[in-house]
């Protein structure tokens, strides 16, 4: 945890109060008034399932032995401004975690193991790599929405995410490193850790596509697909030879006021 956890707590508190207050008011006078000028409020909660992956998968990755999406949540409060009976604009605030755990076999994978202050063991790795990542973001989506019919609503747009806390680390095991390049000295390694948490990018942009199904008057089922367009690592990060993008699906329920 490299950032202030207090920032975190305050944020959760804010979201919780927002949700509970809104829920209690339930069709209060303000909501009715809002709906008259075309404003609609909702809160959403769901799971994030997906991966942070290079696209397309580089040839260095020979197989993915194991994949675990872990338990990642997304909580969102947003507002829709209906421009007419079918088209609208959505924005809001989402607190979410994206992460996964993978185990892959790689061949000739450029990487750097070891801490910064002590110098690095950098080279080309052939063997297994286990990666775990978890990033917490504060996200602002901006979407256009279209009502297909009374029950189905589609959304398309983009988002901005601010990284609040991030971890990207793992181990390289059962393989060997060629120091520097493929002709460098060969070193067999049983297990070595790496941690790129400090190299994660703070500001992210991405595309978002979603669908919402009105199951009951106030309760919707939704799915949002998000695709990050910038590398999760900073531009000057060179330890992994390819860019990685967060690609996630959020599935959950929305409460409509």
């Amino acid at each position: 945890m490299r950032r202030n956890t207090a920032r975190y707590g305050a944020l959760l508190l804010f979201l919780a109060s927002f949700i509970s207050v809104k829920a209690q008011e339930d069709r209060s006078a303000e909501v009715v008034r809002s709906s008259l000028i075309g404003l609609e409020y909702r809160v959403k909660a769901g799971f994030n399932v997906g991966g942070t992956a290079p696209l397309p998968l580089p040839a260095e990755i020979r197989s993915i032995e194991h994949y675990d999406p872990r338990l990642m949540f997304a909580i969102e409060g947003d507002v829709t401004k209906w421009l007419n009976s079918r088209l609208g604009v959505i924005t809001g605030l989402r607190f979410e975690s994206k992460g996964m755990k993978t185990d892959a076999k790689v061949k000739g994978y450029l990487m750097e193991m070891v801490s910064k202050q002590e110098g690095a063991l950098k080279g080309v790795w052939t063997g297994s790599v286990q990666t775990q990542s978890r990033s917490d973001y504060l996200t602002v989506p901006l979407l256009a929405t279209w009502k297909y019919n009374k029950r189905l609503q589609l959304e398309l747009g983009g988002y901005y995410s601010l990284l609040i806390d991030g971890n990207f680390s793992g181990t390289a095991y059962d393989g060997y490193l060629r120091k520097g390049d493929p002709t460098g000295e060969k070193v067999l390694v049983s297990e070595a850790a790496y941690d790129f948490s400090d190299d994660l990018r703070n500001n992210h942009f991405g595309l978002q596509m979603g669908a919402e199904w009105r199951a009951f008057t106030h309760l919707n089922i939704y799915g949002d697909f998000t695709w990050g367009v910038n590398n999760i690592f900073k531009d000057d990060f060179k330890s992994i030879s390819f860019a990685m993008y967060p690609i996630y699906l959020t599935l959950g329920f929305a409460y409509l006021f």
Binding site: V49, Y67, L251
Partner: protein, 367 residues
């Protein structure tokens, strides 16, 4: 909900797996094995990352030696494996990787010279990467004999970028005469401590260091022994020693009250088909050992001034000495200097420093 997650996971995994690309051609360009037909070799070749030394019998015809190589799958070599070449001077082979992107030049040399008996540590040079010093001896004909090895190669992997003087095994200007050998136990930093190797001991030994497996099987990385054509009697020389202040175990934890010490020893042993070298695990215990010379506990004294050491070879009682085997180059010798006596187990004090100079190996005359 759970089912949806599982279905999604499976489909994502399938999608990712289906886009696994075709395997790239090999990028490595290694000589994996080297053999020479007939009986010209005294020992199996020493294969480094870009250097091969063939220890050849003194009566061999160097003008027509045709080494056979096996390479990384798909790689090619020029001149071709099996080509007879003149090894009066080193020959250079270029190995090209299967993907044709990488080339590595190997220096292959033949060493026919007999073991030198005086070691003054006046002859040293930087390694090919210019990172650390290597010691060599000069033979009667003036060619370099790379008798000595050390763990600098491993230290280089972990702590590259250091000055050559900061490696555990280095040279000092403050010799008894001229330059001398300087061994200093160093910290290996975070990477070393992760793998339970918090220190790197300064050491120098006759033999080869196999850096490949050094992180996993450190005791197997030190391949002790070089052919010897006489029976040694005594190892003499000069040393200075200062122990480091904080003694740590292999986890890097301080051991209160423990004090570091150095070690000097030499081992004469017999080689055969199955035993080419001794290693860190059996160098003092192998049944192939004929004689051991090890500095006595009472002679290991901290000193700022040069102190002489004089260590007799103690031949194992009842161990027959076969002079025919000696003539056939079957006997090997190693001499080992170490700045931390338990350095092979990664225990010792950072800063322990051992200086060595004017070492002489005498020949046994009363057979």
């Amino acid at each position: 909900m759970k089912e949806v997650r599982i279905i999604f996971m499976v489909s994502l995994l399938a999608a990712l797996s289906s886009c696994i690309k075709e395997e790239l051609l090999n990028a490595e360009a290694d000589i994996l094995t080297c053999t020479v037909q007939g009986t010209v070799l005294k020992r199996q070749p020493r294969i480094g990352n870009d250097k091969i030394v063939l220890m050849v019998k003194s009566n061999a015809d160097l003008k027509h030696i045709a080494p056979l190589f096996t390479l990384t799958r798909g790689a090619t070599i020029a001149p071709e494996s099996g080509t007879p070449l003149d090894f009066s001077s080193p020959q250079y082979y270029t190995v090209t990787s299967e993907d044709r992107q990488w080339k590595k030049v190997y220096e292959v040399s033949c060493d026919t010279s007999a073991l030198q008996k005086k070691y003054d540590f006046e002859n040293y040079e930087l390694d090919a990467k210019q990172h650390y010093y290597l010691f060599y001896e000069l033979t009667e004909s003036g060619s370099k004999q790379y008798l000595w090895s050390c763990g600098n190669e491993l230290f280089d992997l972990i702590a590259s970028g250091s000055d050559p003087d900061n490696y555990p095994t280095t040279v000092s200007e403050a010799g008894k005469s001229g330059y001398c050998l300087m061994l200093q136990t160093k910290s290996t930093g975070v990477f070393g401590s992760w793998s339970d190797k918090p220190i790197a001991t300064g050491s120098l030994f006759m033999g080869a260091f196999e850096s490949d497996s050094a992180l996993i099987y450190p005791l197997k990385a030190t391949r002790f022994g070089t052919p010897i054509d006489f029976l040694p009697n005594e190892l003499t020389g000069y040393y200075k020693y200062k122990a480091g202040t904080v003694y740590t175990d292999k986890k890097g934890k301080t051991v209160p009250g423990a004090k570091d010490n150095f070690d000097i020893y030499a081992v004469l042993f017999e080689t055969d088909e199955g035993l080419n070298t001794l290693d860190g695990a059996n160098v003092l215990s192998s049944p192939s050992i004929i004689a051991i010379a090890r500095i006595d506990e009472s002679d290991r004294v901290e000193s700022d001034a040069w102190r002489m050491f004089k260590i007799p070879f103690v031949y194992k009682p009842g161990r027959a000495i076969d002079l025919q085997k000696l003539d056939d180059d079957k006997y090997s010798l190693t001499v080992v200097f170490s700045s931390s006596i338990a350095g092979d187990l990664f225990m010792g004090s950072v800063g322990s420093t051992l200086f060595i100079d004017e070492v002489v190996l005498s020949e046994k005359t009363d057979l």
